[in-house]
C-alpha cells in the first residue's frame, strides 16, 4: 500500500514538474522477458508484501542517521546524488557510499527477516 502511494506520488511529481512522462517498462511489451522461475515467495502476494514492508521499516529504524538522510534526500527531496552532494557539502563519493551501505544493510536485514517469517 505504501509502495503504491509512493510510486504514484513519484510519477505524478515527475509528470507535473518536468512535463515529461517517466519511461517505464510495460509488461505487455512484445519485447518483455518474463520473470525467472524461482522458489522465492511470490512478490505479488499480500503476505509477502506485508512481511517485506515490516522488515524494511525495522531495517530503516536501525540505519545510521547519515545513511538514512541520503535515502530521504533522494526519495523525498528529489535531489540526485550530485545535487545532494552540492547541497550538503558532503563529497559525492561519500554520498554514494552511504547509499550503497544503506541498501546493503536493508537487504541483509530483509533476508534475515524473511527467513524468520518463513520459519526457516
Amino acid at each position: 500500500m505504501s509502495t503504491w502511494i509512493f510510486t504514484i506520488a513519484r510519477n505524478r511529481l515527475i509528470d507535473s514538474v518536468r512535463r515529461q512522462k517517466r519511461p517505464e517498462p510495460d509488461p505487455d511489451d512484445p519485447c518483455w522477458v518474463g520473470d525467472r522461475q524461482s522458489d522465492s515467495p511470490n512478490p505479488e502476494s499480500a503476505t509477502y508484501a506485508l512481511v517485506r514492508a515490516r522488515g524494511l521499516r525495522s531495517a530503516l529504524a536501525e540505519l545510521p542517521a547519515e545513511q538514512r538522510r541520503v535515502l530521504e534526500g533522494l526519495y523525498f527531496d528529489g535531489l540526485s546524488m550530485s545535487e545532494l552532494a552540492e547541497a550538503t557539502g558532503i563529497p559525492l563519493g561519500t554520498i554514494k557510499t552511504r547509499a550503497r551501505l544503506a541498501l546493503r544493510a536493508l537487504r541483509q536485514h530483509l533476508d534475515s527477516h524473511e527467513r524468520e517469517a518463513s520459519g526457516t
Binding site: 502511494i5 505524478r12 509528470d15 519511461p23 524494511l56 545535487e83 536493508l106
Partner: protein
C-alpha cells in the same frame, strides 16, 4: 535470455527514487523490459520508498507533491498507440517507442553498413538515437569526453578493449575519457540505443571519417 550487463546500483536507485535524468531513465526502462533481475531490484527500491513514507513522523510533511498535483491530470501528451508499425520498429521496446515523434519511423541510411532512426527524438536535450549496424561492422576505437550508454536491443557486439560481449538487453556504460571500439557479431545485424552526453573524440583516421559522416 537474461541480460548479463546491468545498470549500476546508483542508476537503479536514481530511477526508483525518481531523481534520474530522463535520458538515463529511458535506458534503464528499456533494460528493465529485458531484465527480470533488475525488475526485482526496482521492486525492492520502490518498497524502500514506501517504507520511508511509513516511517515519517505524523504531521511532518515531506517534500511530496501537493494533493492537487497528485490528483491532477498530468500535463503530458497521451501515450501514442502503435498500429501497423513497420517490422523494423516493432521489435523496439515500448519505453523507447514512446519517444519517437513519428509513429512509424523508419531506419535510414547513415553510412555504409549503418542505418539509424534519425534524431526524431531527443531525451532531455541529450541526443539519443537507435542505430542498426550491419553484421560484422566494426566501430573503430574512440574516446568519449562524456558518458556513453549503449543498450543492445537486438544482435550482439564485442567491446574491443574489454573483450566483453553484449547481447539483447545488455547495457554498456562508459565513463568519460575511456577509449574503446565495438565489433558487431558476424552472425546478424545489431541494433542499439546509443546515448552520449558529449562529443566523441575518434582516435584514428577512420574514426574521424566515421564521426564526420555520422556524428556518432
Amino acid at each position: 535470455m537474461i541480460p548479463t550487463h546491468h545498470p549500476d546500483a546508483d542508476q537503479l536507485l536514481a530511477y526508483a527514487s525518481g531523481t534520474i535524468a530522463e535520458w538515463a531513465a529511458l535506458v534503464v526502462a528499456c533494460h528493465l523490459t529485458y531484465c527480470p533481475e533488475c525488475r526485482e531490484e526496482i521492486a525492492l527500491l520502490d518498497d524502500v520508498g514506501g517504507a520511508l513514507l511509513d516511517e515519517l513522523p505524523a504531521g511532518e510533511a515531506p517534500a511530496l507533491p501537493p494533493t492537487e498535483l497528485l490528483y491532477a491530470e498530468p500535463k503530458v501528451p497521451k501515450t501514442r498507440t502503435f498500429v501497423n508499425l513497420p517490422p523494423d520498429v516493432a521489435a523496439l521496446p515500448r519505453p523507447l517507442r514512446a519517444f519517437f515523434k513519428d509513429d512509424a519511423p523508419r531506419f535510414r541510411f547513415l553510412a555504409p553498413g549503418v542505418r539509424h532512426v534519425p534524431l526524431s527524438f531527443e531525451v532531455g536535450g541529450i541526443p539519443a538515437r537507435v542505430i542498426r549496424f550491419k553484421a560484422g561492422f566494426k566501430i573503430p576505437e574512440h574516446t568519449h569526453e562524456g558518458e556513453e550508454l549503449v543498450l543492445v536491443l537486438d544482435g550482439e557486439l564485442r567491446d574491443t578493449v574489454t573483450d566483453e560481449v553484449f547481447r539483447t538487453g545488455d547495457l554498456s556504460h562508459r565513463e568519460p575519457s575511456t577509449t574503446h571500439g565495438q565489433n558487431m557479431s558476424p552472425s546478424g545485424d545489431c541494433t542499439c540505443l546509443v546515448i552520449s552526453t558529449a562529443e566523441v573524440v575518434p582516435t584514428s583516421a577512420w574514426g574521424r571519417f566515421l564521426k564526420a559522416i555520422a556524428g556518432v
